[in-house]
Symmetry: C2
Subunit: 613 residues, 2 copies
């Protein structure tokens, strides 16, 4: 009886929400009403049916249940839900998709109820996984994470990365809901309404699955209750739905994806919906007032390296993670099954509970990091620099969530040697520079790596740290300071004829060339451009004033790397900037041979300088 | 009896191959012997057991069976197999991983038996899928495609994209072999030796599966024969193997990944292997001498657009595909479920049999394109520019196969409008410029798009074509010619005070600013930089000589885009280069509003010019 009353109330709410969806998209003249209508009953029952717990006045409350629309194009539904909850007015809904409105075409963090910006399909489950991982293993809070998924987006491999890992970590606090409305953007999906195909595949990945009618409120409510009782496994609710549900001329019709109704169609649709009761308001159950135990920051130990013992910067990265954790107790470290190469294993051995093995699945690793940072963590994400390209879309999307994530790419450049081109990061600087407001760091020795990892942890935003496979000499003393936006002038005189700008492995080549040229009476300036973005214009421009030519040397392709960054900083100067970069097809060989072959070694620098002076 | 003799011969061969693996890695001082040893019996039985058909003297023969090592780090095994087949000498094997040797650390196309360079895990199955698709639907040849997979790499989402699509297209000519050796780089894989977990998951994706002992030659041979008889489904052979098989102190031991034996260990290993018969030679069955029917190129129709009717360049892309197909009968078009947005659907409607729906799975789409081009096709791959970032690792790897692939990214920049940042390609130019020897095209009207698509088809290599969502005016006449490396000076006089360099949507803003400024007596030069890479230095440098300042305008982030490309071309000039680019957090709004907001519109150009003159 109580259940009947509940579904009656939910039906009224669902009708109001459908009205909001149609009204806002028609007002906008674009958007995705049909993809919103198919999931309306599923989401109405979730938020207002008693399972979901959320303090609507405190969207940031640490024990709120989390809701992510992985099918971000259903944003009209998302906004309508919060309108039904009384947190968005109808007037505000009508600003949707208009310039300046927080209600953007796809959900962004401009709207405070959005956990993370979505819209590039197949990313929400990974984000949810990060939040669920946080609840179960870090904050140890009982909140649940719900992810609304589209059927079309299940073809993204990233989904299956998330599915396997969520099962591996037994995330029984993670619930996915697939809105199987059969139709993608341009026609039927691969599996259409074959719900059994989804069930078979998802359960084979270790999830508990529930197949339901996504428009039957009783079935939906039961499924959520069952999900709350499930232990040791994540739960996927696979719901058969009808795209455009509620408006007969939209229902299950191809050709209506991403199209708003015009005024006339809208009026016709309203007639079908029948009377809308705008006085109803959806009530969301409040969460228990629980807070995570917060670690108390303690001072980190100092840095110590022997001057005469070369250390790979990748190892210094691992050392730094371990060293600074007491100072940054929100740190979490993720690695894609190469922790013994990136040396994040040094952290893992010291703080096992804060390290998560993400296996060889970089997309999901980055999505998970995004979810973790949503919950206040500072994720450090590492793999080979080359393999971070695998997650470029996730990295790109994280900028729209104003994310606080630290990426470390090891094995940068041809200097990795024998393993050959597939393992060489040669476009990673270009990739990370192209991310809005990113910081790109490229230390050359263990001391600067340690200091820069610390700066990265302190900085709020996306930071990329590029490390080198090979051991490199220690060139800095332990008390040297490094800052984001800085550089170091390592060799300088009043008679510098050329300035050589390098970072990482090539800095050492530049220093060697300095010594050799000095013997011949040719004096050069050497600058360690350890921070490539933001770039230290002042120092570079001073070098342009003081010398006759600039040479940049980098173990990276020509485009988007150090050379172009330096040219960009010097465009008002008529000084020639010669860029020594990787220009020939990279291959296997000894590191030194490859630096020579690509003409980014000491000898190449000397040769270039001699051409110039 | 015959079978017994066969397995005896294969055992001898496998022993020789194991010897080659150990000898070559020990000589190199690095490499992956243990990952090679686990798959030795599987591959020996494949190549020399009677199922595989290949003309060893003609690796390019169109009806050869294809073999791809998706686990590229097992390259010592790959080279050893061809040594056993008599195509590589023992002496050559000992050059492995040395500078100049075609036997690189991971397989590259420098070695003529390599179909495509591998080494970034989780990509080989997609490549194989492209080859199998070619055999079944395009060349209609009976060759089979075999892909050797590692167990660790099965965690990559791209594998599941390939699995689902291969089943969807019923590729019964595709055989995967998973070498389940239990150990990844840094320890046990997610599923260890739980072969049932693999079987359950892979069969749920619609494949026929065979679970076998990967060191039992009888079982292996049977599995291959069964695979040949399977219809309508791809086949996955899931083989339980032992990492380091054949050398007791390596077998199933953690800590031996990617490590070569030293001399002493090598001698110990040889003792275990026992006598090696170097006189044995593996025989590979020849394929039937079948050739594909080749289409005969015919002249394409001319280009026709009405001068006064704006057309979106994305639509011109679709028109061009259809128009030029007769001239390039090797063309194949792939799209990631957005063909009604990229307009590749125009091609699909005309040449259905040459269009493949790849669903929302961009990584596999690019891998498949790589496989298709291996078989002589010219793949055109399209989706939203933003979503091509999803496949950056596959794009990156394709450069190491010297691939001939054309990419088209639609919906570039903030000018897409209301859909918001997740759908905006704003880093695509940076990404594609960073690919070695790539061509980056960005046409601004329908005529130049048509001509440049044609140039792209003609050019052998990786070409990126950036298209715009919005309609743009036709500015060129149908007989205008466009070339890779070119640009067009659209407005020019002897009194140009500033040169504005733009492409795509912003070119029209530049042309509008020209008209407005002209009324005020300010004359500017306007250049259409339709080819961003390689860049037309001559024209840009002439503009630098003729004017006082350069302004670049682009609907793309600052780094790696047109601005940096232009600065790179002008580094020897002291002319100021002002870059108008997307610098503020993009959002939803009308295209015009967003161009204004980001200061890349006509008004922003005029404002900047007035500051300068």
């Amino acid at each position: 009886m109580a259940e009947i009353k509940k579904t009656d109330a939910l039906e009224k709410l669902a009708k109001l929400i459908r009205y909001f969806i149609l009204a806002s998209t028609t007002a906008a003249g674009s958007g995705h009403p049909t993809s919103s209508l198919s999931a309306t009953d599923l989401m109405t029952a979730l938020l207002f049916g008693g399972s979901f717990r959320f303090d609507v006045d405190q969207p940031g409350h640490p024990n709120n249940d989390r809701l992510i629309f992985s099918k971000g194009h259903a944003s009209p539904l998302f906004y309508a839900l919060w309108a039904a909850a009384g947190k968005v007015t109808e007037q505000e809904l009508l600003t949707m998709r208009k310039f300046g409105s927080p209600l953007e075409g796809h959900p962004t963090v401009a709207f405070s109820y959005v956990e993370a910006s979505t819209g590039s399909l197949g990313q929400g489950l990974s984000i949810g996984l990060g939040m669920a991982l946080n609840a179960k293993y870090i904050d140890k809070l009982p909140y649940k994470t719900y992810v609304l998924l589209g059927d079309s987006e299940m073809s993204e491999g990233s989904q299956w990365e998330a599915l396997q890992l969520a099962a591996h970590y037994k995330l029984d606090n993670l619930v996915g809901i697939i809105d199987v409305n059969r139709l993608g953007q341009r026609g039927e999906t691969m599996y259409g309404h074959d719900l059994a195909a989804y069930k078979k595949r998802i359960s084979s990945f270790g999830w508990k699955t529930e197949v339901i009618d996504g428009h039957n409120l009783d079935q939906i409510l039961k499924a959520y209750r069952k999900a709350l009782r499930t232990e040791d496994k994540p739960v996927m609710i696979i719901a058969r739905t009808v795209k455009g549900k509620g408006v007969s001329f939209l229902e299950d019709r191809n050709g209506w994806h991403g199209k708003a109704l015009n005024r006339e169609q809208f009026e016709d649709a309203l007639k079908e919906l029948g009377e809308i009761d705008k006085s109803v308001k959806g009530k969301v159950k409040k969460p228990d007032k629980l807070l995570p135990e917060k670690g108390i920051p303690k001072d980190a130990n100092g840095v110590f390296y022997l001057r005469d013992k070369p250390v790979a910067t990748r190892r210094a990265y691992g050392n730094a993670l371990k060293r600074i954790y007491p100072q940054f107790p929100d740190m979490v470290v993720l690695d894609a099954e190469v922790s013994n190469s990136t040396y994040s294993e040094i952290f893992q051995e010291a703080y096992t509970e804060r390290f998560f093995e993400m296996y060889i699945a970089e997309q999901n690793m980055v999505g998970t990091a995004l979810g973790l940072q949503c919950r206040g963590k500072i994720p450090f994400v590492s793999t080979f620099a080359a393999f971070l390209t695998r997650a470029f879309d996730q990295i790109r999307m994280s900028q729209y969530s104003k994310a606080n994530i630290k990426f470390c790419g090891s094995h940068a450049g041809v200097s990795i040697g024998e393993d050959g081109p597939s393992q060489m990061g040669l476009e990673d600087i270009a990739m990370f520079r192209a991310v809005m407001d990113s910081v790109v760091l490229y230390p050359s020795d263990a001391v600067s790596t340690e200091k820069l990892v610390e700066e990265a942890a302190r900085h709020k935003g996306i930071v990329y740290i590029r490390t080198t496979r090979k051991e490199t000499p220690i060139i800095y003393s332990a008390d040297e300071e490094f800052s984001i936006g800085g550089s170091k002038v390592l060799r300088k005189s009043d008679n510098d004829r050329v300035a050589v700008i390098a970072a990482g492995i090539t800095l050492h080549e530049a220093l060697l060339s300095y010594e050799e040229l000095k013997k011949e009476g040719i004096i050069i300036r050497v600058i360690d451009l350890y921070c490539i973005k933001p770039i230290d214009k002042t120092t570079l421009q001073q070098a342009a004033r003081d010398t006759k030519a600039i040479i940049t040397v980098e173990d990276h392709f020509s485009e988007g790397g150090i050379g172009e960054a330096v040219k960009g900083a010097l465009d008002l100067f008529s000084i020639p900037v010669h860029c020594l970069t990787v220009r020939k097809m990279p291959r296997s060989g000894k590191p030194g041979e490859l630096l020579d072959y690509e003409e980014i070694s000491k000898d190449a620098i000397i040769k270039k300088i001699k051409e110039l002076v």
